[in-house]
């Protein structure tokens, strides 16, 4: 389980996060929802220890994030984190060189699934294919937790469908996923837990299935209630 407790972050005088707390379980998809500037990306960066917090704590399976944690948790930001001049096969080799958790068989499977060519240079790929390679580099790691920042942002409908398909596949199964997205429609039916953010705080968090069963509301219905008052 990932436990985020009282996360506070300031950029200059601006308070971006003001005491954000939530948990994300293994085997569940937790979605951080909020308008631009709500602090979603900052939360993911802070979980990965990529930006320092002013206060608060992040625990993964009861432990603070350290260098060994990166074999158990991975981050897929909204831009690819490989050198543009690399070929896809070189990017995969880089991952294989540094991560014990790299699963080449799964990577090959995803190459076929996304219909990518290993020989292609990353800089020559379309935005959709770049997003797929980015996803591949994260999902081919045998990690327990995956953080994804806007995986559907700015890509074509067919690529979005392919990426959404990944969420129902064995590539995600049994892992804990924290995802941020504007395009809630693409994955609404897949979300286990939704965390609605506003003004650097958690406004509401709920189990999507429970609220569907108990109140007959979709995630979008709850969002409408919270954000459009």
């Amino acid at each position: 389980m990932i436990e985020v407790t009282n996360m506070q972050k300031k950029f200059g005088r601006k308070k971006v996060l003001q005491g954000v707390s939530f948990t994300a379980n293994k085997g569940e998809i937790t979605c951080l929802i909020g308008v631009n500037g709500a602090g979603k990306t900052t939360i993911l960066n802070a979980i990965m220890n990529l930006t320092p917090l002013n206060s608060g704590q992040v625990l993964m399976d009861g432990q603070l994030i350290n260098k060994k944690s990166y074999e158990k948790i991975t981050f897929i930001p909204d831009a690819i984190t490989m050198l543009p001049q690399m070929r896809i096969k070189e990017a995969m080799q880089f991952m294989a060189d540094f991560y014990k958790s790299w699963n080449q068989q799964r990577a090959n499977e995803m190459i076929s699934f996304f219909k990518l060519n290993k020989e292609d240079k990353i800089s020559t790929l379309s935005k959709g294919n770049t997003a797929k390679v980015n996803l591949l580099l994260g999902l081919a790691l045998d990690v327990d937790y995956i953080l994804m920042d806007e995986p559907f942002s700015g890509i074509d409908i067919f690529s979005r469908e392919q990426i959404a398909d990944v969420f129902t596949s064995h590539l995600i199964e049994d892992r804990g996923v924290i995802i941020t997205t504007h395009e809630i429609n693409d994955i609404e039916h897949l979300i286990d837990k939704a965390i609605l953010l506003g003004d650097g705080q958690v406004i509401k968090q709920f189990n999507a299935e429970e609220i569907r069963e108990q109140e007959g509301k979709s995630v979008i219905d709850v969002m409408r209630e919270v954000y459009i008052k």
């Binding site: 960066n45 990965m48 220890n49 990529l50 930006t51 320092p52 260098k67 060994k68 944690s69 990166y70 074999e71 991975t74 981050f75 930001p77 831009a79 690819i80 984190t81 490989m82 050198l83 543009p84 880089f94 060189d97 540094f98 991560y99 014990k100 990353i122 800089s123």
Partner: protein, 277 residues
């Protein structure tokens, strides 16, 4: 250790094309320069002796014999060295900033590798050191070859052959880059490497604290330079000539070790706790 070596290999590969260009420019410029500079001397010889009727001995008396020094002071020789120094100085900054500001933010990947972040710092520093040492080694190979070219070009009577030691001694830039004694080598390169560590840590201060970090980086640079010169300043103020040369040397080495260690330690802390993507 293995991740550190893999990172060094990776960083070397990222710079290798530009580095090969530097090596190519140095080889071509210096070899072509050796031919052209010696031909220019021979042209002067021919003009003075065959056209102006000057005798060989009076020409040598007036203009001197041709030696490596004449070539070594030319732009053909010094130019590529200066270019390499400038490129490497820029690269000390570029090696960090390109990971933040290039099209793809590679710093996310570097900082989430399952290895100590200090390895990222040390691998980048090692890359710079290897590049510098490589270019110095290239110069050590090139100088004897260029000496031979000059020997082929200029007749024995008109030239003054210098040994490698003499060439290095006479050319100031070479005497800094390739010192005559191992102790000088340690001091010169120690100061160079210490400077790289100081700049790296100043960059990380900027990356950690943004605008305030620029000021902190400048202050850190000033502080470390002050720390380095402090023993010498104190000596000259309190008791000039108090230290023997050998003592001054060991103080310099001690300051290099202290400041480098401080910079690496601070760089490690910043990378671990403060740096932001």
């Amino acid at each position: 250790m293995s991740n550190y070596l893999k990172l060094v290999n990776f960083e070397l590969n990222r710079f290798i094309k530009l580095y090969m260009v530097l090596i190519g420019v140095t080889i071509v410029s210096q070899l072509v320069g050796a031919v052209l500079v010696s031909r220019r001397y021979l042209k002067d010889v021919n003009q003075a002796i065959y056209e102006d009727g000057m005798s060989q001995s009076s020409f040598i008396e007036q203009f001197g014999q041709f030696s490596f020094y004449d070539f070594g002071m030319s732009l053909w020789f010094v130019g590529p060295i200066a270019l390499s120094i400038v490129v490497l100085l820029i690269y000390v900054f570029f090696i960090w900033y390109r990971d933040w500001f290039a099209k793809n933010t590679f710093i996310y990947r570097l900082l989430t590798l399952p290895t100590a972040r200090l390895n990222v710092y040390l691998s980048k520093a090692t890359t710079i050191f290897l590049m510098v040492l490589g270019l110095v080694a290239l110069q050590l190979i090139l100088i004897p070859i260029e000496s031979r070219v000059l020997e082929w070009m200029v007749p024995l009577d008109f030239r003054n052959d210098l040994s490698l030691d003499q060439i290095i001694e006479q050319l100031h830039v070479m005497s800094v880059l390739i010192p005559q004694s191992i102790l000088q080598f340690i001091r010169n390169f120690g100061i160079g490497f210490m400077s790289v560590f100081i700049v790296f840590t100043a960059i990380l201060l900027e990356r950690s604290f943004k605008w305030k970090g620029i000021l902190l980086g400048i202050l850190y640079g000033a502080f470390t330079i002050g720390l380095y010169v402090l023993p010498g300043v104190l000596e000259s103020l309190i008791s000039p000539g108090y230290f023997y040369q050998s003592e001054k040397f060991f103080i310099a080495i001690a300051m290099v070790v202290i400041i480098s260690s401080l910079s690496i330690w601070l760089g490690r802390l910043l990378l671990k706790y403060k740096v932001t993507v």
